[in-house]
């Protein structure tokens, strides 16, 4: 599984979505599953999956899947 697939799988797991529901444009407040509690779970899932520790600004900025990829790349994750 490459990092992009791992990213998609992390989103599906954390937000309890089917793989078909996960795409680059997926953003918070666009689906009921992605609320403030799910956002917290998503952070934990991504940190565990990619072995990174996100800072507060990263957490606040993580408003879509595409943004998550950008943030993880800044932490050295290759896509």
């Amino acid at each position: 599984m490459n990092n992009n697939q791992r990213l998609f799988a992390s989103f599906a797991t954390a937000l309890n979505l089917s793989p078909e529901q996960v795409h680059d444009e997926l953003a918070y407040n666009s689906i009921p599953q992605w609320d403030s509690v799910a956002h917290m779970g998503l952070i934990a899932q991504l940190e565990q999956e990619f072995g990174v520790m996100l800072d507060t600004d990263d957490i606040i900025d993580m408003s879509s899947l595409a943004k998550a990829r950008e943030i993880l790349a800044r932490h050295g994750v290759g896509f």
Partner: protein
């Protein structure tokens, strides 16, 4: 005598005691369908009703209202009320509530917890409150999950609403992981 401060600042948010200059903004948020749908009363609030309400609360010792700010942007409303009209400075049970502006950047984000934690901390630290209560409409699953993540537990139902409560110990235990995330340093911080 302990009392709530006019300004509460914690977790990168600032809660400012509601002032005359805030109330039109709050009225517009409150009348927005995205906000109104979760309220106990759904009716439209006119400027006159809002003004009358604001004048009434000026002398009320059993409630306190705040405007939530993040990065100097007003983005939500917070309230603390006692049960049975007991002054906040004497009440053992308080009801704390927040709602966000329809376009608030805090909605659906981890940062949504920041004003709630700031308010709850102040209630437990500055007032003799033993419990915080919350009443949530059964269909407002996001609010139920949000409150439960902070330590609230369902204790019953009241007039078709779900009644939740938590004491300081439950709250401290449940909110630990949220605090840890909110207290992380910002980008570029030196460890």
């Amino acid at each position: 005598m302990p009392k709530l401060p006019d300004q509460i600042q914690a977790f990168a948010v600032r809660l400012l005691r509601l002032q005359q200059g805030h109330i039109e903004q709050v009225r517009q948020w409150r009348n927005h369908p995205a906000v109104a749908q979760h309220m106990l009363s759904q009716g439209y609030i006119s400027p006159e009703q809002q003004q009358a309400w604001f004048e009434r609360i000026q002398t009320a010792a059993d409630r306190r209202y705040y405007l939530i700010h993040w990065r100097d942007q007003a983005c939500g409303f917070a309230s603390v009320t006692s049960t049975d009209s007991v002054p906040l400075t004497q009440a053992e049970d308080l009801e704390a509530a927040i709602y966000f502006a329809p376009d608030s950047p805090l909605r659906g984000n981890l940062l949504a917890f920041a004003p709630a934690l700031a308010l709850n901390d102040a209630c437990f630290a500055q007032l003799p409150a033993q419990r915080l209560l919350a009443r949530v409409k059964p269909d407002n699953q996001a609010a139920l999950r949000f409150n439960q993540a902070m330590g609230y537990r369902q204790i019953g139902e009241e007039n078709g609403l779900i009644l939740l409560a938590m004491n300081a110990a439950d709250y401290q235990r449940a909110s630990q992981s949220i605090r840890a995330l909110l207290n992380r340093p910002g980008r570029g911080a030196v460890a």
